[in-house]
């Protein structure tokens, strides 16, 4: 089985998000980058599914050479090889097109992504890759089992789940529950340095979106503290002041 896992290079979850250049650019100063946590879940499941010679895992990233340490981290976790499409990732549409172009003649049985990237919070790449390749896509899955050419997944829905079966190639975006994220061991870290990382050129594609400005949430006023023995006061405030109950 050949699995392709799409990974994003994102700011560490503890990053304080600020912007520069009149709020038109993300301030990268001092930011630590990591493999997008959901992509790590997807990668970990891919490794589990191919362990013991049952297949190979390729990771793909669309980005510039500054992303290489993040890609090496994915190799250290256990991917067999990596591909970087050498371009600044403009938007999900652009990224998905690059991944689909790479994958279209490679015969991957399964293409996995994380449920969303924790920076732009798109949940777009998996389904867009599916559409570009004209194969099924299943978004936000919590469980993934593969048996030969057939797979069974659990997909999250509001207030429950759907059990879905699919045959043949497909794309899925993975959420918590699909696998426990694997932590690289020393052997993995050593071998990651020599695993193949191929750099390919991007294909050109028309622009469809453009981020023109960033905003940060409006700060809240000072908290109104209520004595612990006067819970009825809280209920009254929520009812008559905040009008939420």
């Amino acid at each position: 089985m050949k699995i392709l896992v799409c990974i994003s290079n994102v700011p560490d979850t503890t990053t304080k998000i600020t912007f520069t250049n009149d709020n038109t650019e993300f301030n990268t100063a001092g930011v630590q980058y990591i493999v997008n946590p959901y992509d790590e879940i997807a990668l970990s499941r891919a490794i589990e599914l191919t362990e013991g010679g049952k297949g190979t895992v390729t990771v793909i990233n669309v980005g510039e050479a500054t992303n290489d340490p993040t890609i090496r981290k994915a190799l250290a976790i256990g991917a067999d090889d990596a591909v970087r499409v050498n371009a600044a990732p403009r938007d999900a549409y652009f990224v998905a097109k690059q991944i689909a172009e790479y994958a279209k003649d490679k015969d991957f049985n399964l293409i996995l992504t994380g449920r969303e990237s924790i920076d732009y919070n798109g949940n777009q790449v998996a389904a867009m890759v599916g559409e570009f390749l004209d194969i099924p896509s299943i978004s936000i899955i919590k469980k993934l089992d593969v048996d030969g050419d057939n797979a069974t997944v659990e997909r999250e829905i509001e207030g429950g789940k759907e059990v879905v079966t699919v045959s043949g190639k497909f794309v899925a975006s993975c959420a918590e529950g699909v696998a426990e994220p694997k932590i690289p061991n020393m052997r993995g870290i050593m071998s990651a340095r020599t695993k193949p990382l191929t750099v390919v050129d991007a294909v050109s594609i028309e622009e469809v979106t453009k981020v023109t400005k960033y905003e940060t949430p409006a700060p809240r006023g000072t908290v109104k503290l209520i004595p612990a023995d006067q819970t009825e006061q809280l209920i009254n405030l929520l009812h008559s002041e905040a009008k939420v109950i």
Binding site: T13, K16, I17, A92, Y93, D119, Y120, G122, N123, Q124, V125, A126, A127, M128, E131, D134, I135, P136, S137, I138, K142, R155, I157, E158, G159, G160, K161, V163, V164, T165, V166, G177, E206, E207, V208, T209, V211, T212, K213, Y214, E215, T216, P217, R220, G221, V223, K224, L225, I226, A228, D229, T231, E232, L234, I235, L237, L238, A242, V244, I245
Partner: protein, 329 residues
């Protein structure tokens, strides 16, 4: 936008669950109607699956002047690929250059495929109407609630997935006609088959809940969630939890809100025994009102709260339940 093209229209996909539309659907219709008004055009809705005519007519209340009803046998249950094809075909038939969906779990699977089919820019997680300055910029959540990205959709066609609770339901009664719509369904679009649907019918679904009661490690163990469930039940709220709690399997992953869980924007978020790490705050900061109950007065959560009680959850929550019962009479 600067131009008015009478031939163009707005299409909204109205997702049904067991033949009914949820509040988030009426919200998406209200939002799409407001866009149609901005563009001086009309709004068409498309429904797929078994929905009674009386329920379809409800969509007129929120501004849909036409409903396309797709009731093909193969599409009774959700098939991502085929639904996307049908919605894109409807957009073409209606000359709709703007397609609106709710940013629900299914919407998240459909919107990107529709965008590719229509060569459209997609703004998902939209929280406001598009700008009316000729640029069609949509404000959407980014950095897991830590920021917003104003995203201009520069393509001719545009797709928007609206976050639940971001716009609100707005009545706008319109005469509505219902038309059957049958699109060609390719066999290759039917690759996924639903074997089972499991719904917890007695619980409020978290992503579109208006009220949420959430608890963290301060609860000490899963056996103590009874009072959280009781409080949520009295309020008609959904339950949620912090990451350490779902990591420890005290609660299911589907309840985990935060940067690596789900982001929510309810009208009221009550956080009990959650200190308020930056990753947790990211997922809940767009809640309209935040209440924090924590025994540590230095807990960072108090800095972003509207109301707070410094106290032990095991004492405060039972009292809060009593007070709520008294309030409800």
């Amino acid at each position: 936008m600067g131009f008015i093209d009478k031939n163009m229209s707005v299409l909204v996909y109205v997702e049904q669950a067991e033949g009914k539309f949820k509040k988030s659907v009426f919200e998406a219709v209200s939002y799409a109607k407001a866009i149609a008004d901005q563009q001086s055009t009309h709004l068409t809705a498309i429904s797929i699956g078994d929905v009674a005519e009386s329920e379809l007519k409800e969509l007129g209340k929120y501004g849909a002047s036409k409903v396309l009803n797709v009731s093909a046998d193969q599409l009774k249950t959700f098939v991502n690929q085929a639904y996307a094809s049908v919605i894109a075909a409807a957009a073409e038939k209606e000359s709709a250059d703007i397609v609106v969906l709710s940013n629900s779990f299914s919407g998240k699977g459909l919107a990107p495929r529709i965008a590719v089919k229509l060569k459209a820019g997609l703004a998902d997680g939209a929280v406001e109407l598009p700008s009316n300055d000729g640029k069609f910029s949509v404000k959407k959540t980014a950095f897991s609630g830590k920021a917003f990205a104003v995203t201009e959709l520069t393509s001719a066609n545009k797709v928007i997935a609206l976050n639940p609770n971001a716009f609100g339901v707005k009545e706008n009664a319109t005469d509505v006609t219902i038309e059957n719509f049958s699109a060609d369904i390719k066999q290759s679009d039917l690759g996924t088959v639903i074997k089972d649907i499991v719904r917890a019918t007695d619980k409020v679904s978290l992503p579109d809940a208006e009220l949420v009661v959430s608890a963290g490690r301060g609860l000490k163990g899963p056996e103590n969630w009874g009072m959280i469930e009781e409080l949520a039940g009295l309020l008609g709220a959904a339950t949620a939890c912090s990451k350490p709690v779902s990591d420890a399997d005290w609660r299911p992953h589907s309840e985990h809100v935060g940067q690596t869980g789900i982001a929510i924007s309810p009208n009221l978020y009550i956080a009990i025994g959650i200190s308020g790490a930056i990753q947790h705050l990211a997922g809940v900061s767009s809640s309209k009102v935040i209440v924090v109950i924590n025994k540590d007065p230095e807990a960072p959560f108090f800095k972003v709260a509207d109301y707070g009680i410094v106290g032990d959850a095991f004492e405060v929550v039972p009292k809060l339940i009593e007070a709520l019962k008294a309030h409800k009479g």
